[in-house]
Amino acid sequence: MDIDLKVKIGNRYLPNPVGTASGTFGYGDEYEGLYTPGKLGAVYTKAVSLLPRDGNPPPRLVETASGILNAIGLANVGVEAFIEKKLDYLLSQPVATVVNVAGSSPEEYLRVVRRLNETAVWGFEINLSCPNVKQGCLAFGTDPRNVKELTALLRNETDKPLIIKLTPNVTDIGAIAEAAEEGGADAVSLINTLLGMAIDVKTARFKLTNRTGGLSGPAVKPVGVAAVYNVSRRVRIPVIGMGGISNADDAVEYLLAGAKAIQIGTGNFVTPGLCDIVYDGIVAYMEEKQLHSIDDFASLLRDA
């Protein structure tokens, strides 16, 4: 059967819908040998900010029921070191390098995008949704007006695919997605983590030094699927779905809900070769259901 796995985002094509979620796959090099080149369509990098960031004091991670809370705090090498030390490896791989961009002011987002726009990165994923830092990010991401303005600002700066990453910690995620679309985004990706907390009752202490963290993993999959379903009915731009994907069926579930591509985050920790398994599973599903392209998924969905 003839199967086309390509996914159009803005003026470019992802080779296939499988990607690794920002912050869980570093800059790709650490996972070398654990996946088959070509089966991974895109690496969404760990957030890159203008200056290097140490991140939050440990403990930064705690396991919860079918999930994890993280409070990494956007620890990253900064845009210059990223270009110098990390980018070459990524560009040498047969994947789309999508740089996840974080900032604490519109100016900062702008400068990171401007700097990277000169390089051969494939596109940008703008993180307006990290719950783990005091300034920026989440604050921007919860107000449709801010989202629209910031998107327009960055749109002005680059012709590369511009993906806005949304937080689920809002009343109406569809309205935020619409604002991104109006601002000129090529796609939206969702969901980032849910705001959460864990307390060790034996010691009566917060389990994370940052007190709150972001919840991800299988626990949040129903929230992610609902969000993707809702958003994909509100905007015309492609939706990239994530949240709790831990096998091929989970990825297919997101595609059925309306996603055009998916990202694997926490699942990488449990199964480092998960993108291979998901790639193979998507292909097998398309063969079984006679789907020719990723667009065919959405029309398959039926009522219970």
């Binding site: 570093g26 040998g33 654990l34 004091p57 930064r60 991670l61 994890i68 449990v270």
Partner: protein
């Protein structure tokens, strides 16, 4: 780094709440003392993430760990039978820097779950012809896994019910020649803190193997960091788990 579906060969208690598990390894990997692997049981354990454990022995396409029953994963592991399968991601981390030893005496200090990697280091150093001194601490006599301890181990018990009465640091202090030694240790954080104070006092080289909650176990998530004196953090799974004790910002952990 590979993710290997390993078969359990042996799984038996060696002391109250302590088990020893032997399992198959791919012939192509040869983990070093201090390196670790990250386990996911094929059967449900009630937990989501992999769990990191140090090698306590490696050879002939097999490896061993000594593990303590702590929570759901370790309790589930203890129920598994030879023939059951676990997924092991390995080899992780850096290992003990044995090259620095030169002609000094390596002093190996183990506490609690730190016993496994220290035993592996002991075996490896012996094989190299070195004369390591092994000190292992336990709460009380009943908890000592005699079957896995070399005959010349200096065993300490907190309650004095066996061997040296007191903790490993006190035992170390009573050893004569500090100058010509290098310390390698793995155990509870308070023990390693005390050991690094001791090492500073006598200007000894000291290497510690640290624990941290892990996400990926391979350097990608920045979840497992420890603060260092030079500022910022280091990843336990990648730059560690073994660190020069002098590097660590002990006041913050």
């Amino acid at each position: 780094m590979i993710d290997f579906l390993s078969e359990i060969l042996l799984n038996e208690p060696v002391a109250p709440d302590f088990y020893r598990m032997r399992f198959t390894l791919p012939e192509t990997v040869a983990p070093l003392p201090g390196q670790f692997f990250s386990v996911k049981d094929e059967q449900p354990t009630g937990t989501l993430l992999r769990r990191p454990f140090a090698f306590s022995d490696v050879g002939d396409g097999t490896a061993e760990m000594i593990y303590q029953l702590r929570g759901e994963t370790t309790r589930s592991l203890a129920r598994r039978q030879p023939g059951d399968r676990i997924s092991v991601l390995l080899p992780c981390g850096n290992g003990f820097p044995t090259a620095v030893i030169g002609d000094r005496t390596p002093v190996l200090v183990a506490g609690g779950v730190g016993l496994g990697p220290i035993l592996f280091l002991y075996t490896a150093l012996k094989a190299e012809g070195k004369k390591p001194l092994l000190i292992a601490g336990f709460r009380t006599a009943g908890l000592i896994p005699h079957s896995v301890l070399p005959a010349d181990t200096v065993v300490c018990t907190d309650d004095g019910s066996f061997g040296f009465p007191g903790n490993t640091v006190t035992a170390l202090r009573q050893q004569a020649a500090h100058r010509g030694t290098v310390l390698f240790s793995c155990g509870p954080t308070p023990m390693m803190k005390a050991l690094s104070l001791f090492a500073e006092e006598f200007s000894l080289d000291s290497y510690v193997s640290l624990e941290a909650m892990m996400g990926c176990s391979l350097g990608a998530c920045m979840g497992c960091v420890v603060p260092v004196r030079s500022g910022g953090y280091r990843r336990v799974c990648k730059e560690g788990p073994v660190f020069d004790a002098g590097e660590i910002l002990w006041t913050s952990i």
